[in-house]
């Protein structure tokens, strides 16, 4: 009996050392409970199954400890970085929305082309902001174990199109049309996202409301005759583009709020 108590004491001390591999927060919270449970488990196994059972228990608990400690460490180290990416994505969406509103009003001014084209790289930046926003959104989706569906890829294609054409915008007026097609694709991507989200009933939240409205506004804005028939309907286009910008900003705020849900699923 004396040898059993020595063994248990040694085992408990060793187990407490192993518990230090967990992240500090987990260690501080569950250290005592885990050590106490393991000691009780060891006593029981030693009494009922002897030394061989005790060795078996140590092996299985040790392997389980290594696996879960690795998972916890991974969570602690990667989640803050991913959270930052989602935050960056949401801020980009807000900025992108603001830029869209700004551009909408420049579009309404009589000399909008000259005015907007003087701000070099604004188009390229708009595309980049959209890409970053979508990257943040994708990170959020992946972390929360949701699938990235077709609509997302279409949106990504639209944003990429905007970014590439945006590079040439200040020097080539013809690129403007290509840029607007990028906006069309982005809008269509949002529309697909909203439809699939509603069908799956998995995202019936602000994101879907945003996506539906944003898709409608972006697509409708591009379909208005203003692009093809001079500046007759410029103010309509400004109105819709502004609203689209607002929905982008709402999307950014929703993503910023949703960031709190980031957890490693079990």
């Amino acid at each position: 009996m004396r040898s059993d108590s020595v063994l248990l004491e040694f085992s408990n001390k060793l187990f407490r050392q192993f518990l230090k591999v967990y992240p500090k927060q987990h260690h501080n919270r569950f250290n005592e409970e885990m050590a106490q449970d393991f000691r009780d488990l060891c006593e029981e196994v030693l009494r009922e199954r002897g030394l061989w059972g005790f060795v078996n228990l140590w092996i299985s608990v040790g392997l389980d400890l290594i696996k879960t400690a690795f998972e916890e460490q991974f969570k602690v180290r990667t989640n803050p970085a991913l959270e930052k990416l989602v935050s960056a994505g949401s801020i980009s969406a807000i900025l992108s929305g603001a830029a869209l509103i700004l551009l909408a009003f420049t579009h309404a001014s009589p000399n909008w082309v000259q005015w907007a084209f003087r701000i070099k790289w604004i188009w390229f930046l708009l595309g980049c902001l959209n890409l970053l926003a979508l990257l943040g959104y994708a990170t959020y989706q992946v972390i929360c174990d949701k699938n990235i569906k077709l609509g997302y890829w279409v949106s990504l294609l639209g944003a990429t199109f905007m970014t590439i054409t945006g590079i040439f915008m200040p020097t080539d007026f013809q690129i403007w049309h290509l840029f607007t097609y990028g906006v069309d694709i982005l809008g269509a991507g949002f529309l697909i996202q909203s439809i699939t989200g509603l069908v799956a009933k998995s995202q019936v939240r602000w994101t879907v409301i945003h996506a539906s409205l944003g898709a409608f506004l972006l697509t409708f804005n591009q379909l208005t005759p203003s692009r093809h028939m001079g500046w007759l309907f410029d103010w309509d286009a400004t109105f819709f583009a502004s609203l689209a910008g607002i929905t982008w900003m709402i999307f950014g705020l929703t993503l910023l709020h949703g960031r709190e849900q980031i957890k490693v699923s079990y």
Partner: protein, 125 residues
């Protein structure tokens, strides 16, 4: 009212370990070791929760609000063990998961994969 609305997003389906932990707390508040022994007894030793897995799951369940820590009373302060209980959303989650599993089993019966029907599931005496 749809009670499943109370279940936090992304919690379903539950892993077997989490399902058994919630089930262990369905009829009584228990501490970690109590959960471990209840699961072992109920599954006739087929599922042995080790401390690492158990407290990792407890940590997640506390984060998502599916379980809660029972506030300590004066007497319990002698023990360092914390007692856990099922929250309302935890109860909804375990019910939803049980229904999901039931549907899956029903589908398996529908395919007639058991030669003796449902009775073939009965323990051999």
């Amino acid at each position: 009212m749809n009670t499943e609305n109370q279940i936090p997003e992304n919690t379903l389906p539950l892993t077997p370990a989490v399902f058994h932990i919630l089930l262990a707390l369905a009829d009584a508040d228990r501490h970690g070791y109590g959960i471990m022994k209840e699961v072992e007894a109920r599954t006739e030793g087929r599922l042995l929760l080790k401390p690492g897995t158990l407290y990792q799951a407890i940590s997640r369940l506390l984060e998502t609000g599916l379980i809660e820590e029972v506030p300590e009373s004066g007497d319990e302060k002698v023990s360092r063990r914390r007692v856990y209980r099922l929250s309302t959303s935890g109860r909804q989650a375990v019910i939803a998961e049980a229904r999901r599993l039931e549907q899956m089993v029903e589908q398996a019966y529908g395919k007639n994969i058991f030669e003796g029907g449902k009775s073939s599931f009965a323990p051999v005496s």
